[in-house]
């Protein structure tokens, strides 16, 4: 029961990953691409992490997975901001 729930969560996360990477490929400029990427980063990984927590019996490992997810959230926010700002600065320089 828990296994199937976990698999469901993982596959739900996969959907976000796939749509994120398709967005990365199809969207027209850097900023909208970064926006698509953030979906994959935050929601996709959140569901995969949820599935993994359901499957992983060790409490310490569960805590680690939660920490990983929080870190990826923070890291992706900061990284997207930095990358977008660099792109914006370059765009301004070109004009």
């Amino acid at each position: 029961m828990i296994d199937s729930l976990a698999v469901l969560a993982v596959f739900f996360g996969l959907f976000f990953f796939l749509s994120g990477s398709i967005g990365l490929l199809r969207l027209p400029d850097v900023f909208s691409r970064l926006h698509a990427l953030a979906k994959a980063d935050n929601i996709g990984l959140a569901f995969v992490a949820l599935g993994v927590i359901l499957l992983e019996p060790g409490l310490l490992n569960d805590i680690k997975v939660v920490i990983i997810w929080l870190l990826v959230m923070a890291a992706s926010a900061v990284s997207s901001h930095l990358v977008a700002r660099r792109a914006l600065r370059k765009e301004r320089d070109d004009d």
Binding site: R33, L55, V72
Partner: protein
């Protein structure tokens, strides 16, 4: 560790297909890294590989029963930021 017998083999099949889908999504993201055109586009693809890699490592930790892979995922999540920062700071001053 996981509930024994036939259920776990179905679980393994589901999780392995999840890994395949994640690899497919990395591949789609990589096309963006190959096409570019700007450095920021390429780097958003690298960010996607970082996050997708974290997801793959967490799933592999369950399939292969190696809990050290959570540490690897943690390290990957932490270090993805260092790479981004290096990219942002790598702009030439004399351009």
């Amino acid at each position: 560790m996981i509930s024994a017998g036939a259920a776990s083999s179905i679980l393994t099949i589901a999780l392995l297909s999840a890994v395949i889908v994640l690899l497919l999504s990395l591949f789609i993201g990589l096309i963006r890294a190959w096409l570019g055109p700007s450095v920021e586009d390429r780097f958003s693809a690298v960010l996607l590989i970082g996050t997708g890699g974290v997801a793959i490592l967490m799933i592999l930790a369950i399939v292969l029963q190696i809990s050290a892979l959570y540490d690897v995922a943690l390290v990957l999540a932490l270090l993805a930021v260092v790479g981004t920062v290096a990219l942002i700071q790598s702009e030439r001053t004399h351009d």
